[in-house]
Symmetry: C2
Subunit: 208 residues, 2 copies
């Protein structure tokens, strides 16, 4: 049987549009016959490098208002629960991202990631504090405090930083981002379908 093409899915726990992709990507990838590689990372350092000390949706209020309304519409369109905003926005995603980085070697990465986003944007809960992250892990039948301890190890923190460097060096500037095996970059939940099509070899007319 031929190897299935792979799509890398780079997501950030504080990102509203990453939430939409996290909830949609499994079914769409299965349908397309694409293997996913889930890549949790922090966009904060990328934003800081371009001079932003918060989400652009806070820095530019008109853009932020439009984003929240768009997110409500898109959630409704995709059959997701009504959006419930966490306070503050964006949530500090360091603890969740450390846990997810550690989870890249474990089979709970995907259910954990979905649980974080559901708590944050469908239930409006804080996911910033380590106890909140531990509780989400516990609810999956895992040992949350053990995992957070392992996730705080220097080797895991270095891996998280290395992932951030990899993101920047591969042209990533925001989340969600999809990267195909031949290096094609698709930014934003709106490009999920096109990224999957590209991954299986469907190129829009005439493009190489």
């Amino acid at each position: 049987m031929a190897r299935r093409p792979t799509l890398e899915f780079w997501y950030e726990f504080a990102s509203t549009y990453s939430y939409l992709s996290v909830m949609r990507i499994e079914a769409l990838a299965a349908e397309a016959g694409v293997e996913l590689r889930w890549r949790p990372f922090l966009v904060g350092p990328l934003f800081a490098a371009q001079g932003w000390n918060s989400s652009p949706f806070n820095i530019y209020p008109a853009k932020g208002r439009a984003m929240w309304r768009d997110l409500e519409r898109e959630a409704a369109r995709h059959g997701l629960p009504p959006i419930s905003r966490p306070d503050p926005f964006p949530q500090n995603s360091l603890s969740a991202t450390r846990a997810a980085t550690y989870g890249m070697d474990h089979d709970w990465l995907i259910p954990f990631s979905k649980a974080v986003y559901r708590a944050e944007f469908a239930e409006g809960q804080s996911i910033a504090e380590p106890p909140a992250v531990a509780a989400l892990l516990d609810r999956l039948g895992l040992d949350g405090s053990m995992i957070l301890k392992a996730a705080a190890a220097e080797s895991n923190k270095m891996r998280l930083r290395a992932n951030g460097e990899e993101a920047r060096s591969r042209g990533i500037f925001g989340a969600p981002t999809f990267l195909t095996e031949d290096g094609e970059l698709f930014w934003g939940n709106d490009r999920l379908e096109q990224a999957l099509a590209w991954a299986v070899g469907d190129r829009p007319g005439g493009l190489l």
Copy 2:
């Protein structure tokens, strides 16, 4: 016969994604049974107000690289000619926007707008200098130099400024933007289909 719903289409001549919408919107609006109101405007003053002195695609190079590649893919997907980049980017759109503002009372606004974008992004020509704008008008069988003179009148410049103020006061922060009669704002070429659906009363499940 019932009045057809109207959608306002706010576009900026320097904007790459406005180009895609300009080329797609007539057929889609006709199919949806929606009347269009074409609203040329300048995003420069809005960008300047949030501290940008150029296109965000220049200020943030990784974002810019991804945008140009995305534009190539999207143009191919929509059956448009290969993208040809004007130099410099963004083009100074003041002269074209003055002409289009004057054209809001004339039946050549739409063909003129399409001609500007085609020259700029399909042929990579400069549309910045008044003679280039006059030539595009001439090619439509109009009197370009007469129109540019009328467009430079104080009343037309005031109208252009008033349109910019209106854009800001109605929540517009970029282009293209679509505004429905009930004030729903959709930003970006990716939302053209949803904006038309909203205009005819199709709301995503559960939304008011």
